[in-house]
Symmetry: C2
Subunit: 323 residues, 2 copies
Amino acid sequence: MADRTRGGIDLGGTKIQTVIVDESQKVLGSARAPTPTDGGPADVATAMASALREAAKQAGLKQTSALAGIGVGSPGAVDQKAGTVSGAGNLPDWAGSFPLGPTLSEALGASVAIGNDVGVATDAELALGAGREVSSLIGVFWGTGVGSGIVLDRRPWHGRGAAGELGHTVVKMGGRRCPCGRRGCVEAYAGRAAMEARARKRQAEGKSTDLFKLMEKHDRTRLTSSIWARALERKDGLARELIDDAIEALGAGIASAVNLLDVEMVVIGGGLGIRLGQPYVERIEAAMRPHLFVDDRPPAVRLAELGDLGGAIGAALLVDEHQ
Amino acid sequence: MADRTRGGIDLGGTKIQTVIVDESQKVLGSARAPTPTDGGPADVATAMASALREAAKQAGLKQTSALAGIGVGSPGAVDQKAGTVSGAGNLPDWAGSFPLGPTLSEALGASVAIGNDVGVATDAELALGAGREVSSLIGVFWGTGVGSGIVLDRRPWHGRGAAGELGHTVVKMGGRRCPCGRRGCVEAYAGRAAMEARARKRQAEGKSTDLFKLMEKHDRTRLTSSIWARALERKDGLARELIDDAIEALGAGIASAVNLLDVEMVVIGGGLGIRLGQPYVERIEAAMRPHLFVDDRPPAVRLAELGDLGGAIGAALLVDEHQ
């Protein structure tokens, strides 16, 4: 194998996606596993290591220690230097700090670089995907939560380390309760975790839906992006209602961010964004329109080109940055 | 007079503020005039020239042609090169384009540089005011409308030319109608023009208020910042209700911008911001708190240090940039 073969791991609230890429970011192998829903950070790390080994096997690598390095995109607050992750609220029992980098490095026999999940996915779209030819963009990752990465003058903007919380911009004062505890955030309407909680509540109130039947039928314990997609295909009333709400909130929140930053492009990714695809990107674009202040030259709105693998490929890009 | 004596004009929706400053931005003279409420752009330009002559006289200047240049901060879309301003919706009959720079230059016998009003006011706070020691900030100008200027890494961020429309970020989907025609924008609750329209409506509905009596008593044709301040001092119920709504919307909108950009500081200026002063800056800060995603290290929230003159001083700074 070439020296620059690297691993990338995208740690999501629902799934772990891993890739092995060569020096030109070509994907040599990939694997996916569900994110453990119970246990703790150590169990998540074990599942991550296992999924990376699977990708390495698929790429024909005998040992992960042959990799030039492994990059990880993680939710929560990342300390790049220490390799720790804290406050990853969508992951099991992960409120405190956990040494994810050192743990994975020991398990896999390679150096590990950690970055913010939406940051690395945004970087990947900027370097290799939909954002190759623009200088400013907002990457919106619509999944368990709603994250975003901001690129201005082709450089990521991190603020004091926590920029990009588009999911926690307020689109309805006094509105729906968000998993973050606040009210009226975009994520309260559009985050898959919030949508699932709302679906359970609406069902308990007597609203009929096939969402949970589909979940059981497909052996899931959560309403994954695929379950939402299937329910929409069947024109499930509750699924439609909640996705409509999500799109309305995403439209208002993204348009507000555009009014503030006047970027050239919006890239829609994330588990739900990728799974629902282009027709829903167009619905989000239409939902933005009524709120755009400069409405005669809206930003381009694009589906993330790297699809489901974008986060993991972006994570692999971290290896070069850190060496 | 020194060679670097310059003029600055801040063109607001309610008033025109002019200054004469020396090379170290010391104010040598200043004058203020109401913005004409009827007529058209040419009448506004005449009032601006007259107010600048008044400031020059106060500074002991015989002729405005002795100035090294004059800077103008204007609402609407500014073409710096052509010196034109278009789409200044809060000014009389100013939807189209008007050659404000050339008109003023001819009237005053000096070169004129035009910039965006909130942009120059933000630059002034960054260079000389509350933002001297931070590298990132959002300047929020709470007046006839709600504008904002964004500074990242000590440089203004303009996007494709129209960044900073914090006033038109959505804080309540389906909410109150904004003067821009959209719904639920921050400015729909906090812009003085929207607040006045709402006060008239609430009065017509039978709500008692002294706002319009105070306006007449003080010989105004609009609810100026001073009228609002007086009504609040008298504990006028409607004034309190509308200011409470404004603060709630500003809190949600500014906190959302902070969640997105994670800047170090928020500077509150504008006619209402300056007139209501520190106690209301603290109320805005408190209204932001419930919405801040990273709530253990909120940004500093400061009153604009340059006060009412900030926009005009910032406008004068344009002269050096353009020579």
